[in-house]
């Protein structure tokens, strides 16, 4: 059989990419929405349903951010509920290695693996965000440069407990003595794109959830990872690469393009563009026209407001220089925000066009599949399952039935 695509949906449940103004937008924290989504994806033979993580509600200048979809369940709790109403689909929880206790999280993940009959996955993330840490016992305790060191010890602890081994590990970054209560083998996903993240992936991960959807970058990323795998004594086919992607499907190319434009304008609407700048300026900018030039006032003293969540370290300082550079571009506020906001690359077109494009990625060895980030609920889910999946099946690059019953089997991992 030719190479096959593996598909997941990354259900962030919050954030600016979700279009809540759509009258059809589903009640985003209601269990029925999650059940319907997971069951629809299972009908579409998806490998996995992912839940994101964010352990502090976003803010803007000290107030709760009011413009984006917010509010989400605990991932493992929600996935354990979904395990009872699904039979095949993998259930993947994003959980960080900083604000969790290793033995406790390992136990909850193994428990999910048991109640789901081997369908659990863990998307490992690291964070040093001290603002998030204000919700936890030890605050922002972890230095940025040591976050992968902590993750490494954390993941090693989890793997030992899952294998039935007792753990006794005490350093300045980890303090655990534990005997296993549940064993299992959750599939490990890793999303970090920094060198530290890639090393963690090459050493431990079964799947990488990368941000590299641009074709050339995806090819280079795959090559880099294979090199790292070899260094750790792992075979090239022991890791699956599933970049995050947006998918915008139309019945015609023109309809898809029109929908993409509409989504972009909704995702970066006027108030959101202003709110984005306010985090840099540290001032109320509500009087400015989002389609006009950048604010003529100088930003407040002090660095960037950390409350958007985790911000890459290179973007945390030097805001005055950055603002000076932005001013030199001569864009409107909204154009600027569209340009500088990190976005998952979008595949836009008819089902056949996207299926052809994904086949090209697959055959070049650049990816093993995609992890789709929905913009519309339930619209994106229904489009994927009812339109894109049949087009992929016609091309022979996607399963027509589940051949196994565990997530590891779906992903063709040992």
């Amino acid at each position: 059989m030719s190479r096959q695509l593996h598909l997941g949906v990354f259900f962030t449940g919050v954030g600016p990419q979700l279009i809540w103004t759509d009258p059809a937008f589903a009640a985003h924290t209601h269990i029925d929405t999650f059940v319907r989504t997971a069951q629809t994806l299972e009908r579409g033979l998806f490998d996995a349903f992912f839940l994101g993580e964010g352990l502090r509600v976003r803010e803007n200048r000290g107030r709760i951010h009011e413009l984006d979809v917010a509010g989400r369940p605990d991932a493992i709790t929600q996935l354990a509920a979904l395990a009872a109403v699904t039979e095949k689909i993998g259930l993947v929880a994003t959980q960080n290695t900083t604000y969790n206790y290793p033995a406790d999280l390992a136990r909850r993940l193994a428990s999910l693996d048991v109640v789901s009959g081997g369908r659990a996955g863990w998307n490992i993330v690291t964070t040093d965000n001290a603002w998030t840490g204000e919700n936890f016992r030890h605050g922002g305790w972890l230095p940025h440069e040591r976050r992968y060191e902590r993750a490494e010890a954390f993941v090693a602890t989890a793997r030992e407990l899952w294998a039935g081994q007792s753990v006794d590990r005490h350093t300045d970054l980890i303090d655990v003595t534990a005997t296993p209560t549940v064993t299992g083998r959750p599939v490990l996903f890793q999303a970090g794109d920094s060198p530290g993240g890639r090393e963690l992936a090459a050493k431990h991960a079964d799947v990488v959830f990368s941000a590299n959807t641009d074709f050339d970058k995806a090819v280079a990323y795959a090559a880099d990872l294979r090199e790292r795998l070899a260094k750790h004594g792992r075979s090239a086919d022991s890791l699956r690469i599933l970049p995050g992607a947006q998918v915008i499907i139309g019945d015609t190319p023109a309809e898809a393009a029109e929908k993409a434009e509409w989504l972009k304008r909704e995702q970066v609407n006027g108030p959101r563009a202003i709110a984005f700048l306010e985090q840099y300026w540290g001032k109320d900018l509500s009087g400015y026209d989002p389609d006009g030039p950048l604010p003529d006032v100088e930003p407040a003293e002090g660095e960037l407001d950390p409350s958007r969540g985790t911000i890459a370290i290179e973007h945390r300082t030097g805001k005055r220089e950055r603002i000076a550079e932005w001013r030199s571009w001569g864009l409107s506020i909204r154009e600027l925000v569209l340009r500088v906001t990190p976005r998952h690359n979008a595949f836009i077109g008819t089902p056949g066009q996207i299926a052809d494009e994904w086949t090209r990625y697959l055959e070049a060895g650049a990816v093993d599949g995609f992890n789709v980030v929905p913009q519309q609920l339930p619209g994106t889910i229904d489009d994927l399952v009812d339109k894109l999946v049949p087009a992929l099946q016609e091309r022979g690059v996607y399963r027509t039935a589940y051949s196994g019953s565990t997530l590891r089997e779906h992903l063709d991992l040992r």
Partner: protein
């Protein structure tokens, strides 16, 4: 007989089907809730113990009326995660979540999380702090916080989502919770009357011996728990018989029994009122007002 019934399950190992069978049998028999024992340490016989919150969440979609009360240990947990997990269970079960306050404080349990061993008043204070912060976090979103106002592009009203800025003896939490207010408003909080936090409990559990002296002590401790502010008192019965249950009817509000005694109580309970839809409804507990909501 007007007693509420709770079923205690533990030791079910990795057999999820057996667990589900016990709980659906209890639901069919009219039990108000199931409590799920747990510990971060393995069972003495070396068998498997699935984490109680995960078991409860799984059961939430295999049942429709029975309350689900996992044991989460206040002393060996992140309070923010605990509050989020229980709020999420309440959402997943459409208002049937409860929490058995665990106080596992052995050196071995503390070592699983690398936290100090707490005893005496330090432990009581810690348990009280975790209950208090959980209750604040469950109220941190007002019921009508999500407004989806297209005219102003506002998804939520930030004046109705609150920082809790909790300061306990050993930790602080900023909040708000990441999860909107649970369907019940407040998850039902259950704990032993010996924890020293009875005023914070919705249901105080009083253990008893099946002897005349034991029953006398039970009556006394029940009165004390009510005086301390527990809304309901349940007798915790390692084993039950018909005369004991008849004696307790009218003394306590409910009893907690073990799986072996399901047939006994099923025979005694012919005229139960229908349960639900939420656990608070079943127990006759009002849905609490939000402590952060501005009057008017």
């Amino acid at each position: 007989m007007s007693l509420h019934l709770a079923l205690e399950v533990d030791g079910d190992g990795a057999d999820v089907a057996a667990l589900t069978a016990h709980v659906t049998a209890a639901e069919a028999a009219g039990f108000a809730l199931v409590t799920i024992a747990d510990s971060p340490l393995p069972p003495a016989d070396g068998s498997v113990r699935i984490e109680a919150g995960v078991r409860a969440a799984y059961l939430s979609r295999r049942t429709t009326r029975i309350g689900l009360a996992p044991t989460l240990h206040a002393s060996v947990t992140e309070p923010f995660h605990l509050a989020t997990q229980l709020a999420s269970l309440d959402h997943a079960s459409l208002g049937r979540a409860a929490w058995v306050v665990g106080a596992e404080s052995s050196a071995a349990a503390a070592a699983t999380v690398g936290e100090p061993v707490l005893t005496g008043s330090d432990l009581r204070r810690e348990i009280a702090d975790v209950i208090d912060v959980a209750r604040q976090l469950w109220d941190s979103w007002e019921d009508d916080a999500v407004i989806r106002d297209r005219a102003t592009s506002r998804f939520l009203d930030p004046d109705r989502v609150h920082h809790v800025n909790f300061t306990g003896a050993r930790f602080t939490v900023s909040g708000p919770l990441i999860t909107p207010r649970p369907p019940q408003g407040q998850v039902v909080v259950i704990g032993a009357d010996t924890l020293g936090v009875t005023s914070r409990l919705d249901i105080a559990l009083v253990d008893t011996a099946d002897t005349a002296a034991g029953l006398g002590e039970l009556t006394e401790r029940t009165a004390l728990a009510r005086a301390d502010g527990a809304a309901l008192v349940f007798a915790d019965l390692p084993s039950a018989d018909a005369s004991l249950l008849r004696h307790l009817d009218g003394v306590v509000d409910g009893v907690r029994i073990r799986v072996a005694d399901i047939p006994l109580v099923t025979d005694l309970l012919k005229t139960r009122p229908p349960a639900g839809p939420t656990l608070r409804d079943t127990l006759g507990l009002p849905r609490p007002a939000n402590q952060f909501a501005v009057a008017g």
